[in-house]
């Protein structure tokens, strides 16, 4: 178990926030569908997965193939991938709603839930047959114009605190000692059999090793005393896009006719229908909207988190975590989903920071159980008492 190191905390918090933005986008889909239908859309994670595949195929058709990739990124390609992924996901969401969920609407809620699980399984395992035989692939990160392997070019760096000059001095002092002992050892061991040294030379070697260890310790301490935060440029763009999408969603829900109809349907199905709202088309619209947001999240997760491999189980964990985020913030509550998503990403990175990377995926469920036990309505939701 690694020791808790406060100098890396700001970096981990920021990384968590960036990942949390994606969870927030996916959580919005869960929360909107739950708000309208009271259904946990288990297939939402799979919509996310299909969005990532859509992104991958679009990037390939634009020439960023693994075999022969273009080297220059382009903003146009990124925009096309985002819009394409959102469109594909929107259509898939509408299809799932129409073919699987709508016929179940009159049945008990548990039947819809089982159907949702079935759809999710079908997309995971059926996808393995048709989508590149399920072999993991990644989107070429070079498609992004700001991508660079070089940490200085590819990152925005913020220096929160420079390295402590005293520690640097101490390290430099040790450096001289290390070099002199090393030189002494090199001189003494010259021309001798490395595996069969006389005792005095062995002593020199161990003192050289000690000096080196002391220097490494001191320079490590000096490095750690500086607090830097590195933001990959791609992920900053991702956060920006997420904020824009969320603002658009807020506008849509609060200030348009469709949004008002959506809110009405989520309050009361029948009353909304009596007021002349076409409930079916509003539900389809909700699915399209939620799935398109998942598609945007998938595009960004696949493109900007370099090294992410896409397979048909790509959406399982993000889906579950986003669901937990939605519950955390208060399911059915749009700002709650965003808050929950961001907190979820941060919580996950705190677990890594605290030295338990193996438990990264478990924290979501621990949070879920804790929330449901102690505040079932979520952070921003209301605790409704069930009436009989």
């Amino acid at each position: 178990m690694a020791a808790v190191d406060f100098s890396t905390l700001p970096q981990q918090l920021v990384t968590g926030l960036l990942i949390g933005a994606i969870y927030a986008l996916v959580a919005l889909g869960y929360t909107m569908v739950y708000g309208v239908l009271k259904l946990i859309n288990f297939a939402h994670g799979e919509v996310f997965m299909l969005g990532a595949y859509a992104t991958l195929f679009i990037s390939w058709s634009l020439g960023y193939t693994p075999a022969n990739s273009l080297t220059n990124g382009s903003w146009g390609a990124l925009a096309l991938m985002l819009v394409g992924s959102m469109a594909v996901c929107g259509i898939i969401g509408a299809l799932i709603e129409r073919l699987a969920y709508r016929p179940m609407r009159s049945q008990a809620r548990i039947s819809s839930l089982i159907t949702a699980i079935g759809v999710s399984l079908l997309l995971q395992y059926g996808g393995q047959i048709f989508l590149l035989e399920g072999k993991p692939q990644n989107v070429d990160p070079k498609v992004s114009p700001v991508y660079s392997q070089d940490p200085i070019k590819g990152n925005f760096s913020v220096h929160l605190r420079p390295a402590d000059p005293k520690l640097i001095e101490a390290a430099n002092a040790l450096k001289g000692q290390m070099e002199s002992t090393k030189a002494a050892f090199d001189a003494a061991s010259k021309g001798k059999d490395a595996f069969n040294l006389p005792d005095d030379v062995k002593k020199l070697r161990s003192s050289a090793q000690d000096a080196e260890r002391a220097y490494n310790d001191a320079s490590g301490k000096a490095d750690n005393s500086a607090i830097d935060v590195n933001l990959p440029k791609g992920q900053v763009i991702m956060l920006g896009t997420t904020l824009v999408l969320m603002a658009a969603l807020t506008y849509l829900v609060l200030y348009t006719k469709q949004g008002r109809a959506m809110r009405a349907v989520s309050q009361d199905f029948d009353a909304a229908a009596l007021m002349g709202i076409n409930v079916n088309s509003i539900i389809t619209f909700t699915f399209v909207l939620g799935s398109a947001l998942a598609g945007a999240g998938a595009m960004m997760a696949a493109t900007f988190q370099s090294g992410t491999k896409i397979d048909t189980f790509f959406g399982v964990l993000p889906g579950l975590k986003a669901f937990v985020a939605a519950v955390f913030g208060g399911i059915g509550n749009i700002p709650g989903a965003v808050l929950g998503g961001l907190l979820m990403g941060i919580a996950e990175n705190l677990v890594i920071w605290a030295g338990f990377p193996g438990y990264k995926d478990a924290i979501a469920f621990v949070v879920l159980i804790a929330v449901l036990m102690f505040r079932p309505g979520g952070l921003l939701g209301s605790n409704k008492v069930e009436k009989v």
């Binding site: 179940m104 809620r109 059926g126 438990y359 159980i369 009989v388």
Partner: protein, 397 residues
């Protein structure tokens, strides 16, 4: 007197079945024997999940966690204690499954507690989360082999067919007796209406926790046998897919029907296992098949909802919709086969969970109560089958 006679016939028939299975499997190769063992384990898992899901109505999709707890208990005890054990392997297996059952029951008790406050889809997601937590925690324990898993002592070449058959029979018997006696009524009452049953004096809390504890104890015992039969276990064997497969068995059989769960477990284990033997399925045929399922389902739903004719006519229409779907699918597949992108083949093994998924969806669309609904196997039904007019008794559940 008649009651005891029927009961004796049941018990003798159950033991006879175990004995016949044991004798019949002796001549087979060890792979087939292992398949029989797995089949028995799936029956145990499905029937025990049915106790939680179907009979008590607590929708749980974390059954693999209890199975895993049992398996790891057995594996860990095997490494630490087996060298000191001098006795029959059957006795060892019995001890292990009791130990696995007890640890899993404790885990089940812990999961049962949140179920007091949650219901429906929230409970489902909590049990799913619990399953993941158990898997991740075990995956991070040095003593339990981390993600590499553990070697299970003792190494036996002999598969415990008899033991598994007895375990499955025991599980079925416990569930059946629970249902048919006054002790089982609270479980059904909780499923039907929690508020009403608590008003009638049912201890809802105790009932739910007992259901979880008992169901997970059987899963744990099955897990212990699984570990010994397999010889080596790792956390990947207990992913949530397994929970969902067992859930599909319960749903297919009919939530609440023990007979249904047991038969569905056999079917959903046997069919995908057979599919491993099919090495190439045409891609176009898969698409055609999906289309056929879709068309058949919509036709059947149409007949169910809109055609009000004599039962025979309706049965004919159902048959026609299935046949029609298959014919259209064949034509569609033949057409698609000409598309170069869809000319390839897929191994049947890859389709195994696809079948599970399609079963779940189709069942929910066509017959949400499951194949057997709440019906059970009974001797009077057998008697009627042979033309004897037996007195019809009320079916519990």
């Amino acid at each position: 007197m008649k009651f005891w006679g029927v009961r004796a016939v049941s018990i003798v028939a159950a033991f006879l079945l175990c004995f016949v299975l044991e004798k019949a499997s002796r001549g087979l190769d060890s792979f087939t024997q292992q398949l029989i063992v797995f089949m028995g384990l799936y029956v145990t898992l499905a029937v025990s999940l049915n106790l939680i899901n179907g009979i008590t109505g607590q929708f749980s999709i974390g059954h693999a966690a209890f199975y895993q707890v049992g398996a790891y208990t057995s594996a860990y005890l095997g490494i630490t204690l087996f060298p000191k054990f001098h006795g029959n392997l059957f006795v060892w297996l019995l001890l292990m499954s009791i130990a696995g059952g007890v640890t899993a029951a404790i885990a089940g008790f812990v999961v049962g507690l949140p179920s007091l406050r949650l219901k429906g889809d929230y409970l489902a997601i909590v049990t799913l989360g619990f399953g993941e937590i158990v898997r991740i925690v075990i995956q991070n324990q040095k003593a339990l082999g981390e993600s590499g898993g553990m070697d299970v002592k003792p190494h036996t070449t002999e598969q415990p067919v008899m033991f598994v058959a007895l375990l499955a029979v025991l599980c079925i018997a416990v569930c059946r007796n629970l249902l048919k006696t006054a002790h089982g009524l609270p479980f059904l009452a909780v499923r039907e209406d929690e508020v009403a049953s608590s008003a009638m004096g049912v201890n809802v809390t105790a009932t739910k926790v007992i259901a979880f504890t008992l169901g997970s104890a059987f899963a744990g015992a099955a897990g212990a046998v699984y570990a010994n039969s397999l010889g080596a276990i790792n956390p990947d064997l207990f992913r949530s897919d397994l929970s969902i497969l067992v859930l599909s068995m319960v749903v297919l059989g009919g939530t609440g029907s023990i007979t249904g769960s047991a038969l569905a477990a056999i079917a959903l284990f046997y069919i995908p296992e057979k599919m491993r033997d099919i090495t190439d399925v045409r891609l176009s045929l898969i698409l055609g098949g999906l289309l056929a399922v879709g068309l058949g389902v919509s036709a059947i739903r149409y007949v169910t909802n809109h055609v009000h004719k004599a039962p025979l006519v309706r049965a004919g229409l159902y048959l026609a919709s299935i046949v029609g779907g298959v014919i259209i699918a064949e034509i569609f597949a033949a057409g698609l086969g000409k598309v170069p992108a869809l000319a390839g083949n897929v191994a049947g093994a890859k389709l195994r969970l696809v079948v599970s998924a399609v079963v779940l969806i189709v069942l929910m669309l066509v017959r949400p109560q499951g194949v057997f609904a709440h019906h059970e196997f009974s001797w009077s039904w057998v008697a009627r089958l042979f033309g004897r007019k037996a007195p019809t008794t009320e079916v519990a559940a």
